[in-house]
């Protein structure tokens, strides 16, 4: 199924009943929600930690680029695709 990507100008936030949690037993971050348990890798954790309901995806890309010392253009596609998939799974809403 092809999905339209969400525009980087939107401000994502966690959907109702969804939250990020540090899983201390397995030393990782997970997303918990209604029948949702998503194990995050380092990239996923970095992106999800920036979701604050205030920042646009563009803001988030810019902060991640600074933090990991990479070019914004190199990560834009990945971040937008990741956020789109989280919206489709109703982890995030815009």
């Amino acid at each position: 199924m092809t999905v339209d990507l969400i525009p980087p100008s939107v401000t994502p936030q966690f959907d109702y009943g969804v939250r990020l949690k540090h899983d201390k037993v397995r030393e990782r971050y997970v997303v918990l929600g209604p029948e949702i348990l998503i194990e995050l890798n380092q990239t996923g954790t970095a992106i999800m930690s920036e979701i604050d309901g205030q920042s646009t995806i563009t803001d988030i890309i810019s902060r991640l680029a600074t933090r990991f010392e990479v070019n914004q253009n190199d990560i834009t596609q990945d971040v937008v695709e990741f956020c789109t998939s989280m919206v489709m799974r109703r982890v995030l809403r815009t």
């Binding site: 199924m1 959907d15 109702y16 969804v18 997970v30 209604p34 029948e35």
Partner: protein, 366 residues
């Protein structure tokens, strides 16, 4: 035998009571219910939640029976949240007033799953054996929505309501549910007694597959649809509980700990109790939890099968119920039983002509 690495559990199903105001003939609880006076205390549950969290459990589903039948439900939810668990409440919506729901949400209930018997008032009455049960559920769903708590509608489907599946999907949308479970009755426990009345026809089953596939496509991103097909028409076993003692554990109302909620039918196993042992000892060391882990218990046809990492051998309770041997291949499996379709030959609902209302065996209220 290969040494089995035991993963930490992720999910706890807390069956806090077997009491329930409804009398659904497909009740998934065992035929032998645990009585009120055997239920473990609020303090016991608090300890279970905290031990579960330490063990690695991330989500708890508080279920029953009807969990609202316990007066301390608010305290149970608070204790689970204090242990930093994600709290799902699985309810019929009957027996919860608006005020009590407010308290549960304030105590930290993260998500509510509401069971639905039918979109038709008469149909709902026929299954629940309670007047106006549908109307009460609709009120309840509206309150959940007003409180911005995510709602899942769990629609239990069978021969008598499958023809209203499209309307059921419509209703879930109207109620603002984020998820809909289209759950065909699993014929275990009390439900097995009503198989003749409730088992859908092959035609209904195929049509359901089609309706669900279309709705998933057209409602993508609006309503998530989980689908539990009719087991008996499947080609391969389902991954029962995602494998025995792999992901989830169940604590029954009396504190006994089970790998699957019908496991009490496996009478050769003795199930440990949270009153006697820690959850950690029970999960890692008890003979009951280790009985069907890994593949050394499997018959050769399963042990050499490439699907063993997908379905982990399927359902042990069904194997016992139908073949008499709990270690046999799951009777659903077409690889293990290429000729004898053990299940589908014992019931051909399409050809039976039953007076359904007279045939239903209601679950007595405990």
């Amino acid at each position: 035998m290969n040494q089995v690495t035991i993963p930490a559990p992720q999910v706890l199903l807390a069956e806090v009571t077997h009491r329930c105001p409804l009398q659904c003939p497909y009740c998934s609880n065992p035929t032998e219910l645990i009585k009120n006076d055997k239920e473990i205390s609020t303090t016991d549950w608090g300890r279970v939640f905290s031990e579960a969290a330490d063990l690695g459990v991330l989500q708890v589903s508080i279920s029953g029976g009807e969990p609202a039948a316990r007066r301390d439900l608010t305290e149970l939810i608070r204790a689970a949240r204090d242990a930093d668990l994600y709290v799902n409440l699985i309810t019929s919506g009957i027996g919860l007033t608006r005020g009590r729901l407010d308290d549960l949400v304030e105590a930290g209930c993260d998500h509510i799953q509401l069971s639905l018997q039918d979109v038709d008032s008469e149909g709902a009455k026929l299954i629940s054996n309670m007047d106006r049960s549908l109307e009460r559920k609709l009120d309840f769903a509206r309150w959940v929505r007003e409180l911005s708590v995510p709602l899942t509608v769990n629609a239990v489907m069978h021969r008598l309501n499958l023809d209203r599946l499209s309307e059921t999907i419509e209703l879930a949308l109207e109620l603002g549910a984020r998820r809909l479970e289209v759950a065909n009755v699993q014929y275990h426990g009390w439900a097995a007694l009503n198989k003749q009345v409730l088992m859908p026809t092959q035609e209904q089953s195929s049509r359901t597959n089609q309706i669900v596939a279309e709705a998933r496509e057209s409602l993508n991103g609006r309503l998530l649809i989980d689908y539990v097909p009719v087991d008996h028409y499947a080609e391969y076993p389902k991954s029962c509980m995602n494998g025995w003692g792999r992901v989830a554990l169940i604590v029954a109302p009396d504190g006994s700990v089970l790998p699957c909620h019908n496991a009490t039918t496996l009478e050769h196993l003795s199930f440990p109790n949270v009153r006697d042992q820690s959850l950690s000892t029970i999960w890692y060391e008890s003979p009951a939890f280790n009985a069907y882990r890994g593949d050394s218990w499997m018959p050769e046809i399963c042990r050499s099968c490439d699907r063993k990492e997908i379905d982990f051998g399927g359902c042990r309770c069904q194997a016992l119920a139908i073949t008499g041997d709990a270690s046999a291949a799951d009777p659903v499996c077409s690889r293990a039983y290429p000729h004898a379709l053990v299940i589908s030959t014992d019931n051909d609902p399409a050809s039976s002509d039953l007076d359904t209302e007279d045939q239903i065996m209601y679950r007595p209220n405990s």
